[in-house]
Symmetry: C2
Subunit: 249 residues, 2 copies
């Protein structure tokens, strides 16, 4: 898709984005200088620079002091909320992750277990600590790189008759299944922290350096009567993800 | 404030929270064992454990494997959005930070400068790169510990007749002043990344260890006609902050 309207720098940014997504501009490639880029697109070097700023903000390009702009070798993943978690997304049978990673190759290892409720999870779900819960654990890989570990906890009585207890939860995933079971999430709360990964997380995410960090995102999903029906603990490689939140004043 | 309604574990958590805030339970202190805590509050050890889980989630308590629960020596700061940025907060003349840190001692070093617009800021504010902008930089300290660096950029023509150009922006801060100038923010976008601090950030936040990380939060403030009127880059000590976002499905 190529835009022909809007400010010139946005038009240039979209054309470059198309070339990156098509592979015409490959990972690691150096972009032409700003004057050359401007000439190529019939704009000034200043406009070219603004276009690069947009691509950098989108995680597609990185600039290195004194040596120009490069296509990132692993494009960052921007998670935009609430759009990615909107009912219009999962309600239409689309995986949430489609919103984040578009056409990039994505795989997930899924396991479903019964586990005793950790204290923090029990408090959120309003059950006794240690009560057996359904735990859906996933390990997401993008373009063959592990980027995220995620475990969602549910009260068994609420989900045992749904596909949430299978490794393939079906179109639209767990939120679509909860909605079908009369437990439609209407509100989410996410808590974000940055911390060191533990050994299991480091291994799960194939993190090579000891200095790596993860973003820990804890999501609670609430239904209309105020009950929390899902506790989801996500561990994201902090090198890969950008979290974006839109909200009213 | 002591709650007398709701589940028992919440009541216990609120009473403990009162004791922490009053200093009766001091930083670093070890909490009694769960059975002792239960006896003290007339609840079971399980309920006491759930209460501790709440305090841990609020950043007031940390649990150490095998040795119990301790009052954190520097309580984490939970930033809850959109509540902290609600018009009802700054519109009533309250600093946003009151929402985060309550009664804790807070100071800020403020400087106001004119700086050439960095590319990323220029793209967001819709001005030419290099255009002179008003930059309000702040360094926040909580209980004498530097916790956050923040720089907000504004188009001079829009704010030069407001108190935003003074080090004390007045009651409710910049958003209250923008509203008075007919530029009331109605929507915010925040982008969150975790990364290594640069040398200046490390120094500004007095970070001692080379392994420290910061949360970089970039906020755009939009007015009703869709214009972005503020670009705010915040650098938060990742050891200190928890970011919380509530949003609809």
């Amino acid at each position: 898709m190529t835009a022909t309207e809007g400010p010139a720098y946005r038009r240039v940014a979209e054309q470059l984005r198309d070339k990156i997504h098509s592979g015409e501009l490959a990972a690691g490639a150096r972009l032409p200088s700003l004057p050359d880029l401007g000439r190529k697109f019939g704009v000034s070097a200043d406009v070219a620079r603004q276009a690069i700023a947009v691509l950098r903000s989108d995680g597609l390009v990185e600039t290195r002091q004194g040596s120009g702009a490069f296509i990132r070798s692993f494009a960052r993943i921007v998670r935009s909320s609430p759009a990615r978690l909107a009912r219009s997304q999962w309600g239409a049978g689309r995986p949430i992750q489609d919103h984040d990673t578009g056409q990039r190759l994505r795989t997930a290892d899924v396991t479903v277990d019964e586990v005793p409720a950790p204290d923090e999870v029990a408090a959120a779900l309003g059950v006794a600590p240690g009560k057996p819960l359904v735990a859906r654990s996933r390990r997401f890989l993008i373009d063959d790189r592990p980027v995220q570990l995620s475990t969602s906890y549910y009260v068994p009585e609420l989900v045992r008759d749904t596909r949430i207890v299978f490794t393939d939860a079906g179109p639209g995933g767990s939120y679509a299944r909860l909605a079908e079971a009369g437990l439609e999430p209407v509100r989410f709360r996410e808590r974000v922290e940055a911390r060191l990964p533990d050994a299991a997380e480091r291994q799960g995410l194939s993190m090579s350096t000891a200095s790596g960090r993860v973003l820990e995102v804890t999501r609670l999903a609430f239904i209309a009567d105020g009950r929390c029906v899902e506790f989801n603990r996500m561990i994201l490689d902090a090198e890969v993800y950008v979290l974006e939140y839109d909200f009213p004043a």
